[in-house]
Symmetry: C2
Subunit: 244 residues, 2 copies
DNA sequence: CGTCGGTTTGACACCGGTCAAGTGACGTGG
DNA sequence: CCACGTCACTTGACCGGTGTCAAACCGACG
């Protein structure tokens, strides 16, 4: 069923407002977008790799990820998307992407037509700029991610990922930076960090000894300062200062 | 000296036209941009990490890279920029970035003011969309890069990087995909792939035995089909189909 | 001819991959 | 209510790719 004023739109707007300034009319225009809500089970490929799309995916519940798949089936996750985040805003100017989108947990997605979003972006340049800026945030996160994979050992990379999750979830209203629910499996974390699930387990064990607890799918960071030091975490790259 | 009609602008326009459709007026507007040409020696940080800028960098000669630096000084390169490519178009909507820009060889950069580019993007929505699309290409390359680092051994990652360089240079008119000049040092390649320079050397040695020659800073790929198979290279992610 | 940045090679150590076994939580069906 | 299957987590033993350190080589350039 197509419906406007879906609660996920309000979360999406909040995320945009973290970085972009939009007036009342522009905010109302975004809240008035119409979308189709779909439920997907865990491990469902919502968008296949290389597929061309005419709509975007807004996470309304659960958790999704962008991935690149090798011929042997191994995957590299290149982005996580939490509730209120848009998986493929970049598909508006570029509807064919080299990656796929998959659900990491049972997930509800609100699909919104490119045509409607493009219309908004043209009618309200501030919205167009906010959309562009939103895709840049994802690119910035990905750049930091690359150095996580390439230049840190698994323990530090994992710590950095947890710092990022904490800050992002706090900004999305999904928890505190030092305490948040994380439904990803160790295999999925490994796919993000470029290590095997076995080694994710070893790294988590090491982190639990000194810095965090991770029980009932809830991460608790005991000492934020010490933990960010291990991770070499500097939130600049999340672009949380309002720019527009 | 500020000057319009710099030859690098023509190359930049060609790159935009690979993926975006622009009419004569729009093309003329881009060619008429005014910029300041600056020369930088090798290993000069043109934009420091975390710096806020009010202009962009267009590579007019040489080669530049985006990087993220760890506290101990090690760097991860997250993008290479060849002649005609824009290093930080994304700084228009988001002037503070988490990364830096450095020269890999003696490099000439044309600096163009944000204000002028923003003016174009607002006056001509097709140009705004072309700019957005251009930043998405960089993000797409980076996503593929991440799986290179995380999910391939050094030899396959290097092969993929060379395939990408070949296709990009061919499209920029800087060589053929199977034969192109590459001025990067082995240390710089290692910073891109997340391995040490010593191991870059070992990987290159292995590739030279079977697939390529690399002398006088010129890469020759003997059998494109076999090489892309080793690299698992599929050019979809370079978004070379014209979209707008 | 000497210096310097970049390349090449070898010896050795270690992080993370691989393989295998076992545990525990949970949902389903008898 | 319990037996069972499934999925994720955990742990240990061993191995290989990559890092580290060190030395030599090489071409460009002054």
């Amino acid at each position: 069923m197509m419906q406007a004023n879906h609660p996920a739109l309000s979360r999406f707007l909040d995320r945009l407002l973290l970085r972009s300034k939009l007036n009342e009319e522009e905010q109302a225009a975004i809240l008035g977008l119409r979308g189709q809500a779909c439920n997907y089970p865990t491990h469902h490929d919502i968008v296949g790799q290389g597929e061309t799309v005419d709509q975007v995916c807004l996470v309304a519940d659960g958790m999704a990820a962008q991935f690149d798949q090798m011929r042997d089936g191994r995957r590299q996750i290149t982005a996580f998307f939490f509730v209120g985040e848009m998986c493929d805003l970049q598909s508006i100017p570029s509807p064919t992407a080299g990656w796929g989108i998959t659900s990491l947990t049972p997930t509800t997605v609100l699909h919104i037509a490119h045509a409607d979003l493009l219309d908004l972006a043209v009618r309200y340049p501030a919205i167009g700029m906010a959309f562009w800026r939103d895709t840049i945030v994802d690119a910035s996160i990905l750049a930091k991610w690359a150095s996580n994979i390439g230049r840190k050992d698994a323990r530090a990379g994992m710590a950095h990922l947890f710092c990022e999750f904490g800050v992002r979830m706090e900004n999305l209203g999904l928890g505190e930076r030092v305490c948040f629910r994380l439904l990803a499996t160790q295999e999925q974390l490994g796919e993000a960090l470029g290590v095997t699930p076995v080694h994710v387990n070893r790294s988590l064990k090491a982190l639990r000894q000194d810095y965090i607890s991770f029980e009932n799918r809830t991460v608790r960071i005991h000492d934020w300062g010490a933990f960010t030091a291990v991770a070499e975490f500097d939130p600049t790259y999340l672009l949380l200062k309002r720019q527009g």
